[in-house]
Point group: C2
Chain length 314, copies 2
């Protein structure tokens, strides 16, 4: 398979494993890279020194294939991490959660390939203007932090494709080869998949969280903190207190207090399914198995081919 995305990232299939907090360290990124797609280390839940360690481990374990780092721009360590990423000679960076202008020039000047994650067609144009090589457009169904405008992947992808000349990577709600074919049919040059890769052997999600993914029904996630900083999570005891507070019109202060400290670590890494914040996408309800990430890649690619074949025979 060849698209602009396979070419710019030097990968066999136009699939990107999303950089996720607590879930996607060097092991997951390297596992998918070895299967011929792009793996991303999620910096958003690391300390700067831990990120350096993960980058070095990925370099040592997988010098021959493509992997990169996802850096959330609003993160308190973002500036420090940007320096580490440059120092360590990382080749591919996905930035998210802020202006694409902030780091793009710096990373491009260092010879890196840069993508930025955004959530509207208008912001996709801003990414293009900032000089990124590709733009990820992520729909409302995606896990974790989410745009305020609630555009879904289905309406976002074709409008972004019409709005920019750079390649578009579709994200949000894609969990198998059928969803990948759907995104490519809408004109995307590649797909970014998060939730499906969170439920793999190499994911660093807590075992309790992995088990919760297997048991989740299709309607078990919801977008919380819509007026503060929207995030899609599993609706557990903690999330219900947030939703109830929002329903009665709670202030920002009250909500921030309910969030408290280290809430995502508690849920996703420490495995407290009741009181932790467990960020995951709507696709979680479709997951049935935990397996090696490389097997997931191979399954998606095989099902993609079947899906395209079915379509061309209609």
């Amino acid at each position: 398979m060849e698209t602009r995305i396979t070419k710019i990232f030097h990968i066999d299939y136009p699939i990107i494993q999303a950089g996720m907090i607590w879930v996607s360290g060097w092991k997951l990124a390297v596992a998918v890279a070895k299967a011929g797609v792009l793996g991303l280390i999620g910096a958003g839940s690391m300390t700067p020194e831990l990120l350096r360690e993960h980058v070095r481990k990925a370099k040592a374990a997988c010098p021959e294939r493509s992997w990169g780092v996802n850096l959330p721009i609003f993160f308190k360590f973002a500036d420090e991490m940007a320096e580490i990423i440059l120092e360590e000679g990382v080749k591919i960076i996905f930035t998210s959660g802020g202006s694409p202008k902030k780091y793009t020039r710096r990373f491009k000047d260092a010879g890196m390939t840069v993508a930025h994650v955004t959530a509207t067609p208008t912001l996709a144009v801003k990414c293009e203007e900032a000089g990124v090589d590709a733009v990820v457009v992520e729909g409302f169904e995606a896990g974790g932090h989410n745009g305020r405008d609630e555009l879904t992947t289905m309406v976002l992808v074709p409008q972004a494709v019409d709005a920019v000349k750079i390649p578009v990577i579709a994200a949000g709600g894609i969990y198998d080869g059928r969803g990948m074919a759907a995104a490519m049919a809408m004109g995307a040059d590649g797909v970014q998949i998060g939730t499906r890769f969170a439920a793999t052997l190499e994911s660093s999600a807590h075992e309790n969280f992995k088990q919760a993914m297997m048991e989740a029904s299709p309607t078990d996630t919801f977008l919380i903190l819509r007026r503060l900083i929207p995030a899609r999570v599993i609706v557990n005891e903690w999330a219900k207190t947030i939703l109830a507070a929002e329903a009665r019109g709670a202030s920002e202060e009250v909500l921030i207090n309910l969030i408290g400290e280290k809430r995502t670590q508690l849920g996703m890494f420490d495995g407290d399914l009741k009181h932790g914040e467990i960020q995951i996408g709507q696709a979680v309800g479709a997951l049935k198995t935990i397996k090696p990430a490389g097997d997931v890649v191979r399954e998606i690619v095989a099902q993609y081919a079947q899906s395209v074949k079915r379509l061309s025979e209609l």
Copy 2:
């Protein structure tokens, strides 16, 4: 093109023009029927006698092609309308907004083809159990009334396809041939398209509303009344008062009072863009032209073919 949907509805292409309030009378249904797809008269904003008139006009204007009626089960006139639909010998019915058990047996016994609109994979199974011929699964991006679980088309379609044996019709956010190809790639046997057909010459939307569709940006709709009866609308002056009331935790009573009487008629049919409720899907931001509905059908079909061709050549 042949799918289970083209076969059961005797149409040339697996496209259904959604039954919409104030927008889709007999003229729109007949216009798309003559172009080889299924047109639906939207009963939800009519009186029983007006529905009878529309059915009779469609019968007279288009005896040779497929058209039907969409009946919202929660509508105050639903029982009376069901009798009219049976009396007038309508052949195809789409029910929505209530239990598929309510009318399916009665309509099936009369020899009709029945589809039901729903919003989760679990409810799709309930539709199958109720004996419908096909199920429409409608995502969060769709206009008008909307499921409470906020599942998007992208995650809903493949999960519904896996959950039922009857054909699945994908709805929500599909506005062109690329979206149609995407839905079919995910395993749907057909698509239901609303918003795109609201912006046609034969649509009975007020001219002001049609103009507003041309001017809408991709982020101009939002889901309001999430805890009461969710509806996707254009965010105008009236919708902003609803959103503000919801943000401060307003009671049901207060919200019902803000809705008042004849709010959708005011916006969609009388053309009061400030104070009316204007139900429409997220896809509205992508619309650029108002043209004959038959031309819209032909464009979608042509672009679908291109999209499938592109995909099979990747």
